[in-house]
Structures are given as C-alpha cells and as structure tokens.
Symmetry: D2
Amino acid sequence: MADDPQLADYPVQSSDKIRFADTDRQGHVNNAVFATFLETGRVEILYDSRTPLSVEGGEFVIARLELDFRAELKWPGHVAIGTRIASIGRSSMKLSQVLFQEGRCAALAETVIVLIDRRSRRPRPLPPGEAARLRTLTGATVEP
Amino acid sequence: MADDPQLADYPVQSSDKIRFADTDRQGHVNNAVFATFLETGRVEILYDSRTPLSVEGGEFVIARLELDFRAELKWPGHVAIGTRIASIGRSSMKLSQVLFQEGRCAALAETVIVLIDRRSRRPRPLPPGEAARLRTLTGATVEP
Amino acid sequence: MADDPQLADYPVQSSDKIRFADTDRQGHVNNAVFATFLETGRVEILYDSRTPLSVEGGEFVIARLELDFRAELKWPGHVAIGTRIASIGRSSMKLSQVLFQEGRCAALAETVIVLIDRRSRRPRPLPPGEAARLRTLTGATVEP
Amino acid sequence: MADDPQLADYPVQSSDKIRFADTDRQGHVNNAVFATFLETGRVEILYDSRTPLSVEGGEFVIARLELDFRAELKWPGHVAIGTRIASIGRSSMKLSQVLFQEGRCAALAETVIVLIDRRSRRPRPLPPGEAARLRTLTGATVEP
C-alpha cells in the first residue's frame, strides 16, 4: 500500500465522530473500531442516498480486509475516511481506503466486497449500470 | 430495588464473557455494555431455543430501562446475568435483572418490554399462552 | 419525565453520527447504543476542551441511568443529543438528556454521575468552582 | 492462507459468546466484530493470567490485520477462536488465527503485533524470555 497516502486522492470522503466508548483500556481507539470506520466509507458508496447501488435481491458482503495500522486514533475528535474503488471484477470490487485524524494517516486498508444473492448466498454478477457508476469512483491515483 | 440482591433469586441465569473491547479509557467496562449484558438475559427469555416467545408478526421492543450501577465490571472475566419477570401487563412486561462478577453485584436493572406489531409498530396484546409461560419465570422473591 | 420535550430546552447540544454497526438484526439502532449517545452528551460537559471539569485525582462515574425509549433510531442519519444539569449534590449531579432524530424525540434520560477518588473509588465532594460551572448548565426549564 | 483450516492446528483455543448486539441490519454478525473475536484470541496470549507477557513499560499494539471472511457468523451461538504464533521477529510477531462456529470455518486471519515502549510509542525488542514462551505456541502446522 502507498507509503505517503493523501486523503485528497480518495474521491469518496466520509467522516465519523469518535466516541468515548470507542476507546479501550489502552487509552486509544480500539483496533476493531478501525474496521467500523472503514465500513462507514463503504456503505456511503453502497447505500448512497442519491444513487444507491440497488441490486434487487442482492446484498454486498465483505470477503477480505487488509488493514495497516499507522497511528493511534484518539478520543475526542473525528476521523476522516477516504475511499476509492481500486478495481472491479465480475461480482466483486476492491476498495482502497485511508483513515486520517487531524491530517495524520492512521490506517490504510483494502477491502474486497462481493455481491451475493440474498437467498442462495452465492456470488452474482454486478449489473453493468452499477459497475459503470463504481468506475467513476476510482480516483486520480489509479488512472494512467 | 433490592438492597442486597442474590443471583439465586433470579430464575433465568445467563452469562457473557467480558471482551477487551468492552473496556474504555477509564480501564473498566464501559457503562453502555451493561445494557448489552442485560439484553443477553432478556433475549434468552424472548428467543429461548426450546420455547421461544413466538408471536406471528410481532416484535418485542424495549420501552424503559432503569439501571443502578453498584460496582465496576473488570476485564478479563465473565458476567453472570440473573433475570426474572417482575410483572406482566396486557402488551408489556417488566423484567428485574442483576449483573454479578465473581460473586459481587455490579448492577440492578428494571426493564419494560412491549410487544408491538411488526408493521404498524403499535403495541398489541400478549397472547395468553406466552403470558402463561412468562408467569413461570417470576421467581421466588415475587411470590407471596 | 417531560411529555413533550424540546431539544432547545437543553443548553448543551451534541451530536453523533449513526453507524451501520449500531444497527442490530431488528433493523434499527440497538438499545445499548442509546446509552452510548447519552455518554457523548455527558462527556462533552465533563471533558469540555475549553473548560473541562478537572478534579485532580478524581474521576466521574455513572451511578444510575433511567432511559425512556420513545421512538426507534434509524441508520443512516445523525442523532442530536440535548443535555442539562437537573440538580447538583455534594459529590454527585443529575443530568437530564434527550435524543432526537430529524426533529423527533427518540429518548429521554436521567443520569446520576458521581465524583469518586481515583484511588479509593469512594465519592468525594465536587469542588465549589466545578459546581458553580455546572450550575450554568441547568437550562431555562429548571429555573423558576 | 490455508484452504482447509482445522481448529485443532491452533494451540491456543479461546471462545466468545455471540451477543444480540453483535448483529447488524443484514441479520448476521457485523464484520468489525470478527476483529473483536480475533482480539480475544490475541489477548489470551498477551495477558494470560498464569504467564502474562509482561514487559515493564512496554505495550503490545496491532500493526497489521489480514482477514478472510469465509462464512457468516450467526446469533445465537458461540465462536471458537484458534490462535498460533506464525513467526517471531525482533520486536514483533505474526499470529495466525481462525474463527469457527459449529464446526464451520467463518474466518482466517493473520495479525502482526508489535511491542512498543509505552512512553516513546516506538518499537522495542521482545525480551528473550517472552520470545521463548511465544515459540511454544507455534503449533504443529508450522513445525517441520
């Protein structure tokens, strides 16, 4: 993953407010909460209120998460979440994400999301229209 | 609520394992997690695998929670959860609960649960069979 | 508690962003997360960055929570949290709080917070300066 | 990661009880809770009550998480967590972990943990005694 990530390279920008309950006895935000912040970035693409990825009878599930912890997140404060689509497959996509607090990168992540059939729980192809919209979210850094 | 609560007075006994992530920066289990432990006791009555409270098209929701914190809960360890039905109304019931860790009472709680219609979200009467089963869970301390 | 609570009656206004992970299998925000939102309002008084309640060697802990659930909280969205000091005792205070989503009251709560000594874990008196600052947060509705 | 993982290949066995609040509106256990279950396995090595990894002034933090989701986790139930030390470096170690529910593998994970100095937050070497104890937890599958 990138050595010096910039939030501006991620076309979808979200944020979360860090909660007191996100901390653990080590005094910082618990590591599992990083995965929750990444989810915030993901779902704002998948369920975007203007143009949600709507696939009748389908559901997006996470298949793989790679998460590099670069710095601690501290309460109180906000976390800025940058997300871009890194690649799009037949029934899946890979997202690249970053977490920042006060201008400092706290984490980088890659996530694989798969579209499954709600009933059979098996992968199904991304509809062309949805794939096209996702391609608009790839961001500058992956373009030639 | 009782001054010297005994776990044995609560006919439904559950337990939860305290997780590292349940702690907060004060070093102890975060107060909101107490409500999660109480939920464990409640759902083991509502969704009991042998005799679940099954009400076609109905759903149980919490209407009120009163929670007295008596002691800190510490990680690592388990929490013992005692639950009894304190009273049964037309479409609701009141539960009395206690949380214990290593023989020490950490919390007492009273919860009001209401049966609502899944669609209208309005209260609906408890079926007689369900009310009868709930009456078996009132425990020794509330009997004359 | 008040029958028709108004957010404007609570002098300390906070907010939280509802997370996907706050929901449970009933589709709405899990009841324990309401307690987390209340904590957000509390800690913004206790740890206010401009004028934190700083009591050398002391710690604020929650002693009692009364929580009336009025409506479901739904993802996505924000929750507005109103907090006021309802009363101040020797080593404790009572907070009144409300949770709103899109102009609709979702919950009312009263919380008792106690100042304890960090080492002995026993209550200790609120310093006069801190008590005075808390009295400025009682809000219009409790004044004569 | 292994194609057909067996819980028995992981010398440190832990478990967690799945909570109602672990579920999300998709009906299954939320993905971030998988990271919490992995933490349970880790901390039972790091803070083992009989032989804790005690490093005066040091703290273990997570540097990297790779998590393959294989199946949904469902409430109610328990999750079995298998952990083994995959490799040991100068100031870090890699853990391999699996999550199982009712005999079915739900996830595989690799985690890198670093020992840091509590004050400087910089990596520091694992003491030889601690490294030696960790080597006893490598499990059958990584031995020649």
